[in-house]
């Protein structure tokens, strides 16, 4: 077969496989998991009617969303009102293109587009995610969505800075922006949050752990802010803004916002896993070149790590109260921004002066 054609075919196969077979079911089951975890934390039972332990609840939800009346209010700006939900969903899923979600399967690398500026691509696409919310708020032509949109744009811009700065130490250490290289480095030298692993006697590894942990903390918190999750869910604070930017939306358009938030959570977790938690690597498990079963296990490990992080997302959501808006801004600009900056100096000093 023509190499171009087979390349396109394999890429398409990967896109379809990862988006439709993994990400989208994961999104709908993340909603189920969220309901279940929140219920258990609050001493309730959660969905348990549809199917065993409520496992078919997402299907019922989807039916409900599809069958509901798709209502377009008369006062909205039609074109942008329709555009916004798509813009909310697309960036969240596009980001997954550069994330290596497995080693190799039958010799095919398990990453859709292995570009040399992987992490910048992630940030660029994630920064486009704000358009969906802003346009939704503006097109709705009503005050609560508008307030939500204004809040979200300022919040996202503020936390993008910390997000970008927090990963700099990693790339100082690795010297490459390609995400597959990041994973490979972590396989060789221990995960980013455990830079001392494998070489326990070496004090440099322990020293490096300090900036890495700070990076990890700041990055994870900034991801929370970027995905509008509690305690940073000011754009849709239902107690203050009714529903925030999606107040005027109903039916499937609302569902797209809703699922977009979960898709963003999943891709955010995927990035955290790739950058800090070793990607698809699990100690002792060889990569896919030793047989397809290991390739599958690698993919499974990657998504298991994501699932664990999603649980932390939910756990935090149902523990912490929401910030006040000024606190949020102060936290972003006065604390995390500075911490991330100082952290870069720290990491640069350690990497520069202490030979590994």
């Amino acid at each position: 077969m023509n190499p171009t054609v087979s390349f396109i075919l394999i890429t398409l196969l990967k896109i379809v496989g990862i988006v439709f077979l993994v990400i989208l079911p994961m999104v709908s089951y993340a909603v189920y998991a969220e309901r279940k975890v929140s219920a258990l934390i609050q001493d309730r039972l959660g969905p348990n009617r549809v199917g065993p332990a409520g496992l078919f609840q997402p299907i019922a939800d989807a039916m409900k969303f599809l069958l509901k009346e798709d209502f377009t209010p008369a006062h909205v700006n039609k074109l942008y009102y329709w555009l916004a939900p798509c813009l909310a969903m697309v960036p969240a899923i596009t980001t997954i293109a550069v994330v290596p979600f497995g080693s190799t399967l039958f010799g095919v690398p398990m990453v859709i587009a292995d570009i040399n500026v992987g992490v910048l691509f992630v940030f660029a696409i994630a920064s486009l995610g704000v358009y969906g919310i802003v346009i939704a708020g503006w097109a709705s032509n009503s005050k609560y969505p508008f307030l939500g949109a204004v809040r979200s744009s300022s919040q996202m811009i503020s936390y993008e800075l910390s997000l970008g700065l927090a990963v700099v130490p990693i790339f100082l250490l690795i010297g490459n922006l390609r995400l597959t290289e990041v994973v490979q480095y972590q396989i060789d030298h221990g995960w980013m949050i455990l830079p001392f692993a494998g070489n326990w006697k070496n004090p440099v590894g322990w020293l490096l752990a300090v900036p890495m942990w700070i990076s990890f903390g700041v990055f994870a918190i900034a991801v929370f802010a970027e995905t509008n999750r509690l305690p940073f869910d000011l754009p849709e604070a239902e107690t203050e803004l009714v529903g925030g930017y999606h107040t005027e939306y109903s039916s499937m358009k609302f569902a797209l916002f809703f699922l977009g938030e979960y898709a963003a959570m999943i891709t955010g977790s995927a990035i955290i896993v790739t950058l800090f938690l070793g990607g698809w690597h699990f100690p002792g498990v060889p990569d896919g070149s030793r047989g397809w079963i290991f390739g599958l296990i690698n993919i499974f490990v990657f998504f298991a790590k994501i699932a664990a992080l999603l649980f932390v997302f939910m756990w935090i959501r149902f523990t912490l109260p929401r910030f006040r808006y000024d606190q949020l801004m102060r936290l972003g600009w006065v604390f995390f921004f500075e911490i991330a900056l100082v952290n870069i100096f720290l990491a640069a000093a350690i990497i520069g002066f202490v030979d590994r």
Binding site: L40, I41, Q42, R44, W315
Partner: protein
């Protein structure tokens, strides 16, 4: 007089919030663990398990007409309840009791007696106002229907819910 609430002076570790966050996370995790292990049991599986046995005597469920011990419908169609009902849920069509009837003294009886359960707010005003103690709020709470018409309780339905209540009967009895 203005009350000044002194703000507590937070220590350094309290201002960092991290210990408080960790403590909160530990609490929620404990709840999750207890639920998973089945140690906490607070939810009742409603349609399968019901709480009906524990309903208190004064429970205000669906309003219903009652019969007295002699099997007579107590209502005398005075229409006081229709008048008092805040959401106008009750509609009564009185009928006349003919003069030669044994109960001609009662004069009126309800030919039709409808309560629209979509409107009823379970306030109990009808029970309170009724001079004959003919209408009571019973313990039925799961009033459902697929159409609006189904949600209107007619006389038969009301009597079926109401059942028999013993107690003072005024107008239907012979004058002492």
């Amino acid at each position: 007089m203005a009350i000044t609430v002194p703000r507590p002076k937070l220590t350094w570790s309290e201002r960092l919030y991290l210990p408080a966050i960790a403590a909160g996370m530990a609490i929620t995790l404990r709840h999750l663990k207890d639920m998973l292990l089945g140690r906490t049991r607070v939810t009742m599986q409603y349609p399968e398990q019901k709480w009906d046995a524990q309903l208190p005597e004064h429970y205000r469920g669906a309003p219903a007409l009652v019969k007295d011990e002699a099997g007579r419908i107590r209502c005398v169609a005075c229409q006081l309840c229709e008048f008092i009902c805040p959401p106008r849920a009750i509609k009564i069509e009185p009928g006349e009791i003919p003069a030669k009837d044994r109960f001609s003294k009662v004069e009126k009886y309800p030919r039709e007696f409808d309560i629209d359960m979509i409107r009823c707010i379970f306030c109990g005003m009808c029970e309170e106002v009724c001079p004959e103690q003919a209408i009571f709020l019973r313990k039925d709470y799961a009033i459902t229907g697929l159409t609006r018409a189904e949600m209107v309780h007619n006389k038969e339905k009301l009597l079926e819910i109401g059942g028999v209540i013993h107690g003072v009967v005024l107008k239907w009895n012979e004058k002492k």
